[in-house]
């Protein structure tokens, strides 16, 4: 099958809760002939919409995982990637935004631009995702697409211009006037599947002419050809579409479409707009890091004959075993090919290759640039890159942010125990920012991640999807320790118990490391420590990093150098040198002026300007540092850096400070030294807790 790459669209649909994302997706899948009955969201038939597979998602009204669904519209292949709307899962949002090439931003014609749309829009701008706006629910009382368009311009700062006018509004909504074709379009039949085009109703002609002029004014700057044609009074539909497309792709223009998903109006026109205005995969610049060239950035080409580079962006436990969703950026992947996981270096054979329709799987032979497919039986984690064996490239930087918060969980019974480990195993594969380990001293299972909500969601998923009920400890900030000056050490480990003894002497120094967690330097000359014991020293130091002597937190940013030592021909051993290194580390550590580090979050609080003062006050009270304030449409955003330790319960505080009108987002920024007076308290508490555990 030869496919036209220009006719592929990988899109996301994004919306504030309840704007109709699920309903619209359902309609899209219906019109593209893949589902045979329309299920209303939370409808009476209890079947529920196709895309929202996760119970939890429905209950919380947020989409946590991204699924991809394939459909076709007028011989274009469209992959709909479900985009997570919540900001706590930065990695997932990032991943989803990489996979899609364009997006539909849904807004409610009554609610207009709401907080979540602002956040999502900002992320899309950051990742340069071209978008079209769909103003949904035009059948609702109070519908006002004109006002919403104005809000998109004001609050989102987008150059949004209507491509259509509503014919009737609220319960009178009948159809739309298409400002490109200058025709009235009606959607008829039980499910709006019959499209009837007619002349514009006479009473709307003047309004339509004016709106068309606005549209032409706005887009003719993207095309000289159109500009001339407009002056001559004869722009063709093709010219207009071409100009709209250019403006959309360069993100200088956003077409606005309208309709009602629920009443089956305007959905097909939206699909036409997706085909006409959103980019094909080849029109988007994608890059990867070439690991053979020191992570140099390389541009990937949508060329089926170049080496394969693709990204595993989602894992799913399906009825049929583990599925891995993959997007191909460059090259071709065929059944039977050998591919390599860049992160692990492991090779795998491409077995079954399928395309996921909303309710069925289609077996395919190969996937080329821009394709989104699923593989069976591939062992990997979300975010892994696969390539053909001849290149060594990674789609994402190998850098994963360290978790900033942790809590202990324990299963309530035996059944939960087994399920919990199954769940944890899965989650850590899916999400590199979610980690888990067992605290050796307390035998507790600890989970850690990027925020309170991040962990909460996984705990709920454990319960719902895996039947693992757990009790949960209080969230703990992931403090760290580091040193601030150099200190020498010289330590002899000696033990004589009966038969063979243990002997090792290690000397050197520890010092702060500007970048990275840990470095080991071997400056031994003359073999005073035999070669085979050098790695033992390294191991000993590395083990010491687990718990710092200041307050028992992990130690980072340290370089350990050994430059002297001694060994004994009989009594020296691997373990003796490990212990000597640990002793040396401990010896030097407290003299190297250790300090406590804490995670600092970048916090953005967004709300009406009148609350700016109280918001800034609340940040000041939390040891926060205000970076600045800026405007986002009618709202003022306060940007600040605040220690995570001070952010617990902030949503409640903010709500009461601002009558619920402000919202905040936060993401990890950096680790910074805890001020001395605060550190004293933290250290005392940590020591006390350690005492109690014993």
């Amino acid at each position: 099958m030869k496919k036209d790459l220009e006719k592929v669209r990988n899109i996301g649909i994004s919306a504030h809760i309840d704007s109709g994302k699920t309903t619209l997706t359902e309609r899209v899948l219906y019109y593209t002939q893949k589902i045979h009955a329309i299920h209303e969201v939370r409808g009476k038939d209890g079947v529920g919409a196709t895309m929202d597979s996760m119970e939890l998602e429905k209950e919380r009204g947020i989409t946590i995982q991204s699924a991809a669904t394939y459909c076709t519209w007028k011989d274009y292949d469209i992959n709909i990637i479900d985009t997570p709307g919540h900001v706590d899962f930065t990695i997932e949002v990032e991943r989803a935004l990489r996979v899609l090439d364009g997006a539909v931003l849904i807004l409610c014609s009554v609610g207009g631009v709401q907080s979540q749309s602002i956040t999502v829009n900002r992320q899309m701008s950051r990742y340069k995702v071209p978008r079209v706006v769909f103003i949904n629910k035009c059948d609702r009382t109070g519908a006002n697409p004109k006002r919403v368009t104005a809000q998109v311009r004001e609050k989102l700062g987008l150059n949004a211009v209507p491509m259509q006018l509503p014919i009737g509004l609220e319960s009178e909504l009948k159809g739309v006037v298409d400002l490109v074709t200058m025709k009235a379009v009606y959607f008829e039949g039980d499910n709006g599947e019959k499209i009837r085009e007619e002349a514009i109703p006479a009473e709307m002609q003047a309004e339509a002419d004016a709106a068309r002029e606005t549209l032409l004014d706005a887009v003719s700057m993207f095309s000289d050809e159109l500009m001339e044609a407009v002056l001559e009074g004869s722009p063709s539909e093709e010219m207009i579409r071409e100009a709209v497309r250019k403006g959309t792709l360069s993100m200088e223009f956003v077409p606005v479409l309208i309709g009602s998903a629920y009443k089956n109006k305007g959905v097909q026109s939206l699909l036409d707009a997706v085909n006409a205005y959103l980019p094909a995969p080849s029109e988007i610049k994608n890059t990867a890091f070439d690991l053979d060239k020191g992570e140099e950035e390389v541009i990937l080409e949508s060329n089926p004959n170049k080496p394969l580079v693709c990204l595993a962006f989602k894992l799913e436990d399906g009825r049929y075993g583990q599925l891995t969703y993959i997007r191909t950026y460059q090259g071709t992947m065929k059944k039977g090919d050998t591919i390599v996981n860049t992160r692990t270096g492991k090779k795998a054979k491409v077995g079954r290759l399928v395309r996921m329709h909303s309710n069925e799987m289609e077996d395919i032979e190969s996937a080329g640039p821009g394709d989104i497919v699923a593989l069976f039986g591939i062992d990997c984690a979300s975010g892994d890159t696969f390539t053909s064996p001849d290149v060594n490239m990674s789609m994402s930087s190998m850098h994963v942010p360290a978790p900033v918060i942790s809590l202990s969980i324990s299963p309530v019974d035996n059944k939960a125990q087994g399920n919990m480990s199954k769940a944890l195993n899965r989650f850590t594969k899916e999400d590199p920012t979610f980690r888990t380990f067992v605290d050796h001293e307390t035998s507790e299972t600890i989970i850690s991640g990027m925020g309170e909500l991040h962990l909460e969601v996984y705990i709920e998923r454990m319960k719902r999807e895996y039947g693992a009920e757990v009790s949960v400890g209080a969230p703990q900030v992931a403090y760290r320790e580091t040193i601030t000056q150099r200190a020498d050490f010289n330590y002899t480990h000696k033990k004589q118990t009966g038969g063979s003894g243990q002997f090792a002497r290690v000397a050197g120094f520890i010092e702060p490391l500007e970048e990275g967690n840990y470095e080991f330097v071997d400056s031994i000359v003359g073999g005073v420590i035999p070669r085979e014991f050098i790695p033992s020293c390294d191991k000993g130091f590395a083990a010491s990093l687990e718990k710092g002597a200041l307050a028992g937190f992990p130690v980072t940013g340290i370089r350990c150098t050994i430059n002297d030592g001694a060994a004994h021909s009989v009594d020296s051993s691997d373990i003796a040198f490990q212990l000597a290194a640990r002793g040396g580390f401990k010896d030097g550590y407290l003299r190297a002026n250790p300090v406590l580090l804490e995670p600092i979050m970048k916090v953005a609080v967004e709300g009406p300007s009148e609350f700016q003062g109280s918001v800034m006050g609340s940040i000041n009270q939390r040891r926060g540092m205000i970076i600045g304030t800026f405007e986002e449409g009618e709202y003022t955003v306060v940007e600040a850096e605040v220690p995570l330790a001070e952010m617990f319960g902030y949503s409640t505080v903010l709500r009461s400070l601002t009558q619920g009108k402000a919202e905040f987002t936060m993401e990890f920024a950096a680790y910074r030294q805890v001020p001395r007076n605060v550190a004293e308290g933290v250290i005392a508490a940590a020591r006390k807790a350690a005492q109690e555990k014993k």
């Binding site: 300007s609 700016q612 003062g613 000041n620 540092m625 970076i627 600045g628 800026f630 850096e641």
Partner: protein, 240 residues
């Protein structure tokens, strides 16, 4: 020490303190044709205060927070390229601590907007600036009332406020010759204690001069000219 060294090199230090080192508050204006370094001079003014442990509000009309932060980072990086990692980190931290950026969209910037955003902060005592710089004002369109308000605030809070304004390329020569403000700024001249202009040497764009057109506080004689380093805007010859 790095900090003291930077304070000494700062061309704007002469305006902020008198001979005894006491703070001198003023309403100031920096004019220049586009692209000559008005923002850099405002950043230098801000740094002069920040490095002495005082707080500064940086108002930017038309540039976002990221861009504004980048100005500081670039200039700091340039003027202290030889500094040690630790010292540099400490310097950056003190800049972050003592600087607050406030950005506005150019198209919707207005007097009530500025007032609303400033009031909360200053009158609720959340931030106590001793200096405010306002970058990106359109002097041809700015309301006189806004500047009058700024001047009232400046007197009341005994802080310094420095604005920047663009003049047309063609007006430059006439200003140098006459040492008076060009239109449309001339109508606003009375609101400022100090007006300085940046200009290159004619025929040599790499030589930038700071020219004092007016100084009612008598710290600098009108007509005085100071050569600056074109990338960092520190006093020429001060950087190694």
């Amino acid at each position: 020490m790095l900090k003291n060294d930077l304070i000494a090199k700062n061309p704007m230090g002469a305006f902020s303190r008198d001979a005894e080192g006491n703070e001198v508050a003023r309403m100031g204006l920096v004019i220049a044709r586009p692209g000559l370094g008005k923002t850099a001079i405002l950043v230098q003014i801000a740094l002069d205060s920040i490095l002495r442990g005082k707080q500064v509000v940086h108002v930017s009309v038309g540039q976002n927070i990221e861009k504004t932060k980048a100005w500081y980072d670039d200039i700091l990086g340039d003027i202290s390229a030889q500094a040690k990692h630790d010292e540099m980190e400490e310097l950056k931290l003190s800049v972050r601590r003592n600087r607050m950026i406030m950005t506005f969209n150019a198209s919707t910037f207005s007097r009530p907007k500025l007032e609303e955003r400033l009031n909360d902060m200053i009158y609720q005592d959340i931030f106590r600036p001793c200096c405010m710089v306002i970058d990106g004002l359109d002097l041809a369109r700015v309301e006189r009332r806004m500047l009058e308000d700024m001047r009232d605030l400046q007197r009341e809070a005994n802080m310094s406020i420095w604005c920047s304004g663009v003049i047309e390329r063609e007006a430059q020569a006439a200003v140098i010759a006459s040492q008076t403000l060009p239109a449309p700024c001339d109508a606003l001249g009375d609101l400022f204690d100090t007006v300085i202009m940046l200009h290159p040497e004619s025929g040599d764009e790499s030589k930038i001069f700071l020219n004092v057109l007016k100084d009612a506080t008598n710290r600098m004689a009108p007509g005085k000219s100071l050569r600056l380093d074109p990338t960092t805007m520190v006093v020429w010859g001060a950087t190694a």
